[in-house]
Each structure stands twice: as structure tokens, then as C-alpha cells.
Symmetry: C2
Subunit: 329 residues, 2 copies
């Protein structure tokens, strides 16, 4: 059966998810506030601004009218986490019918409130909420390369239905129940990616990097459990899958920032050279604040925070980590 | 307190562990049956045959006399898994005192018996057994680069004691209890590395590879639990840590074999060009046999087996994996 899928946000990931949703046999409506993006997609079937060079299927209906999206059977929200509150408030004003499921596809922790995306949504709307998160480079999904992802939803029947609605041979969602755990890996991975970049920049070796990622995953698990997530969720695509992808590529924004730090460059200079946001830098602060609030010991995240915000040198940091007492895993 | 550590096997890993044990403040005796290796280490402080180009500390005592090793306080066995039975039988003949802990540092499943290394040891000796396994490239450990590893031992007091005996600022063992789970990641990872190599060779993208590793880890978990291991062990250095390291480097023997397969080369030709063993090829058969015996569904391992042993093409294999029903993680 054909479903109407409304996708809010036509960045690289929202556009790629539109392609995946069409591939799964749905009718897709894609919202952007940017009329130029809408025209490019409708007329030239390409999102030159956010996903340049990838030909899109002609059947995506781009629009600047949020009302049109809100008439769909399923809504996906694919805006940056820091903009989610604003979009959810608009949805509430438009009186989205309460039975329409809303899938949150944004990764992150809101800076001021330290809230997860599902917590922000729950403040305003009573609709069933699901989380879509996994090891997903947008360009590869838009190109139709095979990709797995997690769909988390407390209501198992609905979750499995969403898996069927969005899934195809190449875009393969797997259902999980835990919506808290599903959000933590994607939100915190960028802090770990900065640490991995430092490790590479300092030439500490592949053993050290694998150890860092493994111990970092344990920290992410601690945070997840403290927030009410399930230990096991970390093993899924939204957990280790996403972390592996982000910590595996030196080209990623966060790894490359860490790499430059590891090679001895100054943070201010690295940030000045960049005309884009390096998410891990803000997330490091959110995680530090959360850890403090929840009284958690997250040594790797805390050392990354120290380097970024407390002028602690990379050398001191490494010494601190290596001098921790030997213990159990 | 200084301990006498006896290390059986002077390949790259045994030699590197000797360096780590010296660094931790111990007196180290390293056994090899190869008199040339023993002389090189004692006279030139270099194992030119297995760890060429790395200067070793002068305080390693290499020997061809197994009796000398068996007078130590702690024994590490670092021979290939397929040779373990033979060494354990020799140890038994020499009447190793029953209180001396034996740390098994070999990764693998015995081909004929499908037994883990701890199971082989238990057939012959009653000594307390521990497992050392983690994301450990030997050359990096020998160079003194920071490295984490897992030490598994059912007796927690002994396990923590071994952590203290072998641990230093740069070589950092973490204690875990589960000796079964500790052996599975290291044994099975090479099958997954072949799958990852195929994925890269076929240019399926980074999303596909991250998905493959994540789902592969789930399979390794299934196998581990079926053999009596603990679900959680997979999260540790001996689990995801080791898997990440092996699946992260295209240079590794198993990844590069998969890569060649993915690019369309024939298995026989790839194997003919190699004058060394590609462990994943034999492990794929052991895992296939184990899965059959335990009635487990391990789709990725099974597809690797099909490519290696049943003339199924890479293309068919990918199709098979992508056509599996969409489900829960």
C-alpha cells in the first residue's frame, strides 16, 4: 500500500530520506523554507545546495507549505536538533492530527535544556514519536547504496509498521523499542570522533584508537542508562553502527578537528578556518553538563571538554587518561 | 613486587607481550623452539624474523628450554590456536605446578574439534586459566604505544592480580569475568573482516560497511551466547575493540582477501599469490560447522562461507543478504 510521507527539512539527510521513501513505494512530500531548494528539486530533480551532483527521482514533491506536509500519513522531521523546538511549535499550531506518527531524524542534545529530541517533541505534541538513527551518510543513501538504520518506537506494532513503510532492499531499517538509547549514540559520537582525531594526529597508533572507541562506547552506554536507555541498544545500528562510521573517517568534521588538535594546532585557529559548525565542540559541552548533573564519570568525554574549554593540553590529557588506575571493564 | 613471567611462543605477539611484561616491572623468560630467534633476541635484542626493525629491551631472557619457562609465577601461551593442543600436552608432561596461572593469548577455534583454546587447555591441565585478548597490533605494543586489552578469568581476585602484574601506563589490561565471550570476538572477527573487504572491493559504501560490522557483531554475540558466553562481553576490548581494529584496516590479510574477491578476483588465484595463511578462510569453515551444530542463523558468516566454499558469487550473496525480511535488531 502506498503511503503519503511528509518530510520536514530538505538538507542532505532530509533529501536522501525522500529518495529512500520513494524507493520504498511511497508518495513523498518534502518541505523546505528555502524556495530555491524547492524549485531546484521540483524542476531539476537535484538539491544543488545540500546534495550537489546527485540526481534525484522526479517523483519527490518539494514544497514550502508546511500544511501540505501535515496532511501526510507519516511525518519525518529532519532539521538540526537545535532547530527542532521551533519546528515542533509550528506543527502544534497547525493542529497535526494526534494519530499521525512523527519520526525524528535529527541527532543531538538541545544546548540550553540538555534535552533529547524526543523530550522536546513530547513537550508540545501527543503524537506517537519514533526515532530514526544509524550509520547513514546522506549521499550514499541518495545514491541508493545499501544502508541499515534503526527505527526506535515504544509501540512495537507501530515501529514494525514504520519499518515496512520506509524499508526497501537497499534502505533497511531495523526495529528497536528503546527511544532513549537510540538517541544517545548519534548525539554523543561526535565527541568521541574528536578524541579519535586527536589520537590519529598524535600518532598514538591503531591499538590506542580501537581502545579509545571501545572505552568511549562504554561511556556513551553509561550516559544512556543514566537517562533511562537500555544497555543493549548501544549494540545496534544507532549505537556502535553510527559510532563506527563517524570514528572511521578522518574526513569527517569532528575527526579532522581532533586531528589538527593532535598535530598541535590551536583550537581558535582551527575554528576560524572553518565556515561550518563542528557539532562535537558544542556536544562536548552538553555532555560535560549532563555528566555533572547526573554525577557520571565519563573520562574520555571530560578530557575532550578540558581540551576544548579549559586550556588543558593534549599531552596532559593523554597522561591523565593513561594514569587512571587499572580496573575492570 | 617483581614476578617471573614465562612466555611460550616468540612470534610477533609473544615478543611484543614480553616487552609489555618487562615494562610492567617483571622478569621475563621467552620460549621459542627456534634457536635462531632465541639467539637474535639474546644477542641483538631484536626478533628479526617475526618483528623486524623493532629494538627490544635487553632484559628479555629468550630460551629454547621449556622447563625454564615452567618455573615462572605466571605462564603466557602465545602460539597459533591450531598448535595449542601440542604445547598444552608438553606442559602437562613437564608437570607444571597446579597453582600457576596460565594465560592463553592465542585467538582461534580448533579446526577438527571446534573447541575454544580454554576448552583445549582444560582437557589436559587443572591450572587456573585466563584469556588475554584485545585490539592489539603486536608492533605497536612492542613500540610502547598505548594499548588496551581484556584479561578474562573466572576467579576475579586472580584476574585483577594478573591485570596488576601485566599492566603499565601504556599496556592497559581490563578485567572481565567471562572467558568464553572473551575468546569469540578474536576468533570470529576475521570472517567479518573478509565480508568487510568484499564490501569495500564492491564499492558498496561506508554505510553498508558500518551496517555489516554492526550486524556481524550481533552474529558473533549469538554464537558467544550459544557457547555459554555473556552478552555484555562483546562490548569490551576483546569484542568490539578487536573487531574494529581488524575491520578498520584494508591492509590486514583478511580484509585484503575480501577486497580482492569484491573486485572480482578468483579465490584460488588470490590464495596462490599468498605465502601466508589467511586465518578467516579456515575460521569461516569452523564457524559454519559450529553454527550448524548449534542450529544458529548467522547470515553474514554463512554467506562468507558460501563464497569461499560453495562457489556462490559475491553478487548472489549480496542479493541474498539484502532480500532478507525486514525485522527487529
Amino acid at each position: 500500500m502506498k503511503h503519503k510521507i511528509g518530510i520536514i527539512g530538505a538538507g542532505a539527510w532530509g533529501t536522501a530520506l525522500s529518495v529512500a521513501a520513494v524507493k520504498a513505494g511511497n508518495e513523498v512530500f518534502l518541505w523546505s523554507r528555502n524556495i530555491e531548494v524547492v524549485n531546484l528539486i521540483n524542476k531539476f530533480h537535484e538539491n544543488k545546495i545540500y546534495l550537489n551532483g546527485i540526481k534525484l527521482t522526479s517523483s519527490i514533491n518539494a514544497t514550502t507549505h508546511l500544511e501540505q506536509i501535515l496532511k501526510c500519513d507519516v511525518i519525518l522531521i529532519v532539521v538540526p536538533a537545535q532547530q527542532l523546538r521551533n519546528i515542533i511549535m509550528q506543527i502544534k499550531e497547525f493542529n497535526l492530527p494526534k494519530n499521525i506518527p512523527v519520526i525524528l531524524c535529527c541527532k543531538g542534545i538541545e544546548q540550553e535544556s540538555l534535552k533529547l529530541t524526543s523530550e522536546i517533541a513530547n513537550e508540545y505534541i501527543a503524537n506517537p514519536v519514533a526515532i530514526l538513527s544509524g550509520p547513514n551518510f546522506a549521499d550514499e543513501v541518495a545514491l541508493g547504496l545499501p544502508t541499515g538504520t534503526s527505527i526506535a518506537c515504544e509501540d512495537q506494532d507501530l515501529g514494525m509498521k514504520l519499518v515496512q513503510i520506509l524499508g526497501s532492499t537497499v534502505f533497511r531499517p531495523y526495529y528497536i523499542k528503546d527511544i532513549i538509547g537510540a538517541q544517545i549514540g548519534g548525539a554523543v559520537k561526535n565527541v568521541l570522533a574528536i578524541a579519535c582525531g586527536i589520537c590519529e594526529g598524535k600518532k598514538l597508533g591503531q591499538n590506542a584508537k580501537a581502545t579509545l572507541v571501545t572505552r568511549g562506547i562504554a561511556e556513551i552506554g553509561k550516559l544512556s542508562i543514566a537517562l533511562g536507555g537500555d544497555k543493549q541498544t548501544l549494540m545496534f545500528l544507532c549505537g556502535i553502527g553510527d559510532i563506527l562510521l563517524t570514528c572511521g573517517s578522518i574526513k569527517s568534521r569532528n575527526m579532522s578537528l581532533g586531528f589538527a588538535l593532535g598535530k598541535g594546532e590551536k583550537l581558535e585557529e582551527i575554528l576560524q578556518q572553518r565556515n561550518y559548525v563542528t557539532e562535537g565542540v558544542t556536544t562536548a559541552k552538553s555532555v560535560f553538563d549532563l555528566a555533572k548533573k547526573l554525577q557520571l564519570d565519563l573520562p574520555i568525554c571530560q578530557q575532550v571538554y578540558n581540551i576544548l574549554y579549559s586550556n588543558v593540553t593534549v599531552e596532559e590529557t593523554i597522561k591523565n587518561l593513561l594514569q587512571r588506575p587499572l580496573t575492570a571493564e
